[in-house]
């Protein structure tokens, strides 16, 4: 209990509590401490005037300095936008063939493309860009390209889409259905031959003949495919719609062909460029066989 007394050695009163014989002195506060305290009060008044302080119903009072954390954020954001704008400007100016030479810009493009991919492309191609064999959405990570895997080809596909009505330049080709063209034995022989192209079965004369007559024009005599018309390669390990006999038969009789929307008009050219860079970067991107003829001419298009 409170049992105040003066501590003789120091002449100071104790606070009157005792713990195991230890008493606490009520040492007087230095006077400057008091002034410091008053100073903080003055500071707080200034602060309340200068900065938002009193909570109101939907927001706090606006200080004289008009400062707000949202305002700071907006400032940061616009600074970031500005920085992005310069990157976009550079990307707009550079022809896509020259992009790989600018590794810094390429990195920015890939990063931007990854973001755009997540918004526009994952619905079909999947978040890892691995596509879907069941639904026939191509895998974009591998080295098998229907319409070409260099930056320019990818960009072209993105701009014009695949089998899009209303675009004269869209990637276009049709595989005729062979329903009723062959009897069962012929069909089996053909399937055997197709599988033999990648070493999965024994070839036979009948199949080879049917293939040469009906398929080689587009898929090539050895099954090498033709990118000009999007005819898939038949002699590799990748089968967009399955490599089982049934799958192949079904594809011969009632071919299914993929479609892809054209992004021209929906996305701006820079975003498309970034998407092309991203898809190209996924691991299967191809180099240009030869650098496009006169890229400088395009540089001048957008000064």
């Amino acid at each position: 209990m409170a049992n105040k007394r003066i501590d003789e050695p120091t002449g100071t009163e104790t606070v009157g509590h005792e713990w195991d014989g230890i008493e606490e002195l009520n040492t007087p506060l230095p006077r400057w401490w008091l002034w410091t305290f008053y100073l903080t009060i003055i500071f707080s008044i200034g602060y309340v005037i200068a900065y938002p302080a009193w909570p109101m119903i939907d927001r706090a009072t606006v200080g004289m300095l008009n400062w707000s954390s949202r305002g700071e954020l907006a400032k940061d954001m616009s600074a970031a936008d500005q920085a992005r704008a310069t990157v976009r400007e550079q990307l707009a100016r550079i022809p896509i063939e020259r992009l790989p030479e600018e590794s810094g810009l390429m990195q920015q493009a890939v990063a931007g493309g990854a973001a755009a991919f997540r918004v526009n492309c994952v619905q079909c191609h999947g978040s890892g860009a691995a596509g879907s064999q069941e639904l026939g959405y191509p895998n974009l990570n591998d080295d098998d390209w229907l319409w070409g895997g260099d930056l320019k080809a990818i960009e072209y596909t993105l701009v014009h889409g695949i089998r899009q009505a209303g675009d004269d330049e869209t990637r276009m080709s049709v595989m005729p259905p062979f329903e009723g063209a062959f009897d069962t034995a012929q069909l089996d022989a053909l399937v055997d031959h197709v599988l033999s192209l990648s070493g999965k079965a024994e070839t036979n004369a009948t199949g080879a003949r049917i293939y040469a007559d009906n398929c080689a024009a587009c898929h090539g005599p050895a099954g090498g495919g033709d990118r000009a018309q999007g005819a898939p390669t038949l002699n590799d390990a990748i089968w967009l719609r399955g490599s089982s006999r049934e799958a192949i038969k079904r594809q011969i009789l009632q071919p299914r062909m993929g479609m892809m929307p054209k992004w021209e008009g929906r996305l701006d050219p820079v975003t498309i460029k970034m998407l092309a860079a991203y898809v190209h970067s996924l691991g299967g991107g191809e180099d240009f066989v030869e650098v496009a003829e006169n890229p400088e001419a395009e540089v001048d298009e957008q000064p």
Binding site: E8, G11, P28, R31, W32, W33, D236
Partner: protein, 527 residues
Amino acid sequence: MNNPNERKPGDDRDWSVVVEDGVAKTNEPVSSAVAEPEAATRRHEPHEPARTHLPEKLYEKRAVVHNKRIDGPFRRFKWLVMVVTLAIYYITPWIRWDRGPYAPDQAVLVDLANRRFYMFGIEIWPHEFYFVAGLLIMAGIGLFLITSAVGRAWCGYACPQTVWTDLFQHIDRLFDGDRNARHRLDKAPWTFGKILRRGSKWTVYLFIGLITGGAWILYFADAPTLLRDFFAGEAAPVAYGTVAVLTLTTVTLGGFMREQVCVYMCPWPRIQTAMMDEQSLLVTYKDWRGEPRGSIKKAQKNPGAFGDCIDCQQCVQVCPTGIDIREGPQIGCITCALCIDACDRVMKDIGRPRGLIDYATLEDCEREAAGGEPKSPWRTLFRPRTLVYLMIWGGIGGAMLFALGVRSHTDLTVAPDRNPPFMLLSDGSVRNAYTLKLRNMESRPRDMEIAIEGLPGAVMWTENVNRRDAAPTQTVNVPADLVRQVRAYVAVPAGTPSQEFSFRVTSLDEQRESDVVQTRFDAPESE
């Protein structure tokens, strides 16, 4: 804010005699050691007037401290420490240290922007911050060690607050004269001469504050460049802000607050009082020798009735915190030992042995008071407690040095792609992709070889190496002092099952440092 006078009317207790635990004690100056040599715990009695009419105070007015000039061995030591510590502080940022073309050449640099900490030959990355933590722990234990051995020696000599206060007190002396002149000037009216003096003194205060704050920021950027930028007005706003704040704190804390910081603000005296024991060396007034006090004249009249203390107040006048050590150990005493210098000088003048005030342990005091011999200072310093502290301190230091010496400057981390986990290639082989991070902690670019171990038939290429050039190993160049990220594509022939394997990175220089990380290769289930 008034201080209420607690003394109530009718309170007629006789405060000149206090009864405690049934023992009547007087407030007259007396040493219990003289009266009862064995009563060690009650030795330090106050030398204060009787407290019959001491009012209770709510607020304490500050008593100005103007300490008198003194010379002596401890003062000289204090000068030395002051010169050394200030020199370390102001000069360190200007020391250059060649680290080659890829790293800054400042010997001590906290490079916040690039997250590097340089200290002479040592470079610390953020993930090695435990070294800094270790240093802080060492500093802490070092203080324990010092405190348990020689009391508050840190406070007395090396604490920045002490060093700068000392510096400012010398400035005072230079401008306003010694103790008495300063007291007089304080009381003098504000004449033109006083204004001039104060003005020039405070300008010097400000200048000291400015170079103190200025030197601080030089530790965080290249000193010559920053100094140029600073005066050209091109340095970062935070640099100016830091200098302004530090100038202000230096001038207030060193120029005006001084001992108030030690008495009221600093936690260290509170901690230290708990760390000292009977065997710690403290600045002590040997009251059994000094009490009762009496002037030389009185002593001549009454030989044998008085102690050695002639009550000349020299020890009080030289004290930078303005306390009277004769009242016993107290929180205001920073053990700067200036009172020892002062008292020794007086004792020499009057022909009495030195050491009335001296560094002594409580144990020794008791022994001496009882007529025994004091312990040798070495025995006092090297006792189990200080030795244990020393061993812990040295152990941490040694362990850190060892860890620094053997740490590898090459490091690898591997993150396998999980979506998709594997990729079938057109020739039937299976590819996995990994993100590798190669850390080069040397301040020169290095070629590093990435190799695949334990995955038969595997080849690798990267985002910059074409698949045509795929090989079991790839060499990449990692820039000086940076982490380089590499996308690694690993392909194995068809039919290889899923399995564990490792990446090994080896630096292609004479050190040939290497690091191995195990990871997983995923492949389709074989039909």
